[in-house]
């Protein structure tokens, strides 16, 4: 998957969790989305895992600062799967 494809798929995930379209940029973070609570953060993580068929570790999740980090993480996981 290219970065663009990952962003597009992620926007679908965000739309499902927040019920509204959110334009995702690398720097988008919880601070930009009022509904992005710690509760919804877990839902986002689980929905992303389901959508991309990957698993994040506890360390992965703690290191996430923004959407750019999330995309990079997904990309790395997908690349690992291909090997």
């Amino acid at each position: 998957m290219t970065d663009t494809e990952i962003y597009q798929a992620l926007e679908g995930v965000f739309r499902d969790i927040f019920d509204e379209p959110i334009e995702l940029k690398p720097e988008t973070s919880a601070a930009d989305v009022p509904e992005w609570t710690s509760f919804n953060h877990v839902n986002l993580v689980v929905a992303s895992e389901t959508r991309f068929g990957v698993r994040f570790s506890t360390g992965d999740i703690e290191a996430l600062k923004n959407v750019g980090d999330l995309v990079a993480l997904i990309k790395a996981k997908l690349a690992k799967q291909r090997k």
């Binding site: 019920d19 877990v42 839902n43 689980v46 929905a47 994040f56 570790s57 506890t58």
Partner: protein
């Protein structure tokens, strides 16, 4: 996906995106609530459950106390995160027309709240409390070296504590109590030997579970048996250690829809709202094959084939349900005498006629028959579970009688019992001598009165089926299947004339005759080749229907009307003025004794074999109205 996690007893939601858009755009709250209820009767994953729950929240803000929904006030008493389970529980309650209001006791403070009569919890006045204690909180640890007696004593102390909590809840709050059992999550210390080492975490937990179940039964506390469900799907599925350490969630979010349903069915059982009666179809549900066509001796049931064994196992499960107090009934499209003969004369049949409180076998639509069954038993339609392998019948009942529980039925009979069990329709919170006697009582009262009349207007349903009838000549390609249908169809068959392949080929190759086959598809899929009509020219102006037969699977949908229109049109194109037909009675084709009358023919006298002879003037024929699109097959 066919898994309990996906709620596999519910039908799939055909177009989730469109359904959620339509929901969001529905302005009237009552209409929106009905839409939410309709969507809730489908398979939903945890994200979809969350979306649906947000629409429910929005709707209830506008319409706080909707009629026809029963409120439930549930206090959640837990030692870990439960918030993520709320949407699934609310939607699962809604599925049962229960509106769940929740009080979430602050994380791990349920004990203080229970002890203080002035606490927020006490003031909130729940009518049910669910106690969810995680594996770490509920831990009993007598030490790995503990003797059996020491373990028993430690478990006993823990159970006493729990009983005290239950008593506080039921006495202080005056509410029913549900206790969630805890799955075994401890990693193995010895391996399989853990089970035998009295002090190992695995053995201690197993002993504790057993003791809790016994105490709960004695104290009339209901169980939400997560431990058994955990072993059913695997604790690795239910429990995600990453989620535990990230958010203290014992139940992984993807399992929330199933967990919610498990909770909701216990709440429904506490309210006496579990289903009471299992209504079973016969052909391809209790046995393989169609008794009216195949005959009793050729039914697939019992030893001799894997499918036969699977059908027998399903019958055994139905009988077990009957023994615990679930009423059994039959609702089948069949000649009653033929359907009954399967039970009286097949040696491998597990169920017997007297296992059924009501036995309905006729050709009326099943919604009408289900109403009659409920009336006969004097129970609500919402007490019925309707189990039928035919998706069109299931769709009809769901559309006509949304209060009847209609589980999906897998293709393979090997999975029937499991899907029915997973659906949890018959959830109970107690088992008494009355339950044991109940099935028998219903059987007696059911046998006393069994009369069936009245039909439902089904036009809307038939129209929504979007049926398409494809007409084709009997040709080399279709010859085998047509011959097969001609030779096995016994019920919808006016003359029951049998043909071999060569004889049929000869018939079809005569340019003056008509030999047509019909395929029917609907929005559920292709029913395949379902009807055959053979007609020969008695003269240039006269056409005689030699054979008119149809599979019983598509009865009651007006297919024969569409077929007749087609025949008349073809006859007219050939200059035919008169079409004749004959009905030759057999032991099995009483169903079509009046077919020609229904199709617009006039009786002209007695016919061969004690039957009747019919005529139709092509000029005076008014095409029948039906809901089927027709076309030539390509």
């Amino acid at each position: 996906m066919s898994s309990p996690i996906a709620l596999h007893w519910l039908p799939e939601l055909p177009d989730p995106t469109a359904a959620f858009h339509a929901l969001r755009d529905t302005a009237d709250p009552r209409a929106r609530l009905e839409r939410i209820l309709a969507i809730a009767q489908h398979q939903l994953d945890f994200v979809q459950v969350g979306k649906l729950d947000r629409q429910l929240e929005r709707t209830l803000a506008e319409l706080p106390e909707p009629a026809d929904f029963q409120p439930v006030r549930l206090a959640w008493l837990g030692s870990s995160t439960l918030e993520h389970l709320l949407p699934g529980a609310r939607i699962a309650c809604l599925r049962r027309r229960l509106l769940l209001h929740s009080y979430l006791a602050p994380y791990g403070q349920y004990r203080q709240e229970l002890l203080d009569p002035g606490s927020a919890l006490a003031r909130w006045r729940p009518d049910v409390a669910v106690l969810c204690l995680d594996h770490e909180h509920g831990l009993v640890d007598p030490g790995i070296g503990a003797t059996r007696d020491e373990v028993v004593a430690a478990v006993g102390r823990r159970v006493d504590e729990l009983r005290q909590i239950w008593r506080l809840a039921s006495e202080q709050l005056g509410c029913a109590v549900i206790h969630e059992t805890t799955p075994i999550l401890a990693p193995a210390l010895f391996g399989s030997f853990d089970r035998a080492a009295a002090g190992s975490p695995v053995a201690v937990q197993a002993r504790l579970d057993h003791a809790i179940a016994e105490a709960a039964a004695a104290d009339r506390v209901a169980l939400l048996d997560l431990a058994t469900w955990s072993s059913r799907l695997g604790s690795d599925t239910w429990f995600d250690p990453v989620r535990w350490h990230q958010a203290k969630q014992l139940v992984a979010p993807p399992l929330a829809p199933l967990w919610g349903d498990l909770l909701a069915r216990v709440i429904a059982a506490l309210r006496g709202r579990s289903q009471k009666c299992l209504v079973l179809d016969l052909d391809n549900t209790l046995w393989g094959g169609v008794v009216g066509d195949d005959g009793v001796e050729r039914l697939v049931i019992g030893q001799g084939s894997a499918a036969g064994e699977a059908f027998a196992a399903f019958q055994r499960y139905a009988r077990q349900l009957e023994e615990r107090g679930i009423v059994l009934a039959v609702c089948s499209k069949n000649e009653r005498a033929i359907a009954e003969s399967a039970f009286t004369s097949h040696p491998d049949m597990v169920l017997r006629l007297d296992d059924f409180a009501v036995f309905v076998a006729n050709w009326k639509d099943k919604a009408t028959n289900l109403r009659q069954i409920a009336e006969t038993l004097n129970i609500g339609l919402d007490a019925l579970v309707f189990f039928d392998d035919n998706p069109a019948e299931r769709a009809l009942v769901r559309a006509e009688l949304p209060m009847v529980a209609v589980p999906e039925v897998p293709e393979d009979p090997a999975h029937f019992s499991r899907v029915l069990a997973d659906a949890g329709y018959f959830e109970a919170v107690s088992f008494t001598a009355d339950d044991l006697a109940r099935a028998r009582q219903y059987q007696d009262s059911g046998r006393r009165q069994q009369a069936f009349e009245s039909a439902t207007d089904m036009n809307a349903f038939l129209s929504a089926l979007a049926m398409r009838l494809q007409i084709g000549e009997v040709d080399a390609q279709s010859l085998a299947r047509v011959t097969q249908l001609i030779n096995k169809t016994n019920q919808f068959n006016v003359t029951t004339r049998r043909y071999t392949e060569p004889a049929l080929r000869g018939f079809a190759s005569d340019p003056s005759s008509i030999a047509l086959h019909f395929r029917l598809a609907d929005r559920f899929g292709d029913n395949g080749l379902i009807a055959v009509v053979l007609a020969r020219a008695d003269s240039a102006a006269q056409l005689a229907i030699d054979s008119f037969l149809m599979s019983c699977r598509v009865l009651g949908r007006g297919v024969e009307l569409a077929i007749m229109n087609e025949i008349v049109e073809r006859a007219r194109a050939r200059g035919v003025r008169e079409i004749t037909g004959e009905y030759i009675p057999t032991a099995r084709n009483a169903l079509v004794a009046d077919l020609f009358a229904r199709l617009g023919f006039t009786q002209r006298g007695p016919g061969a074999g004690g039957g009747t002879s019919w005529t139709l003037a092509v000029d005076g024929y008014a095409p029948h109205a039906h809901f089927i699109r027709t076309g030539e097959s390509t």
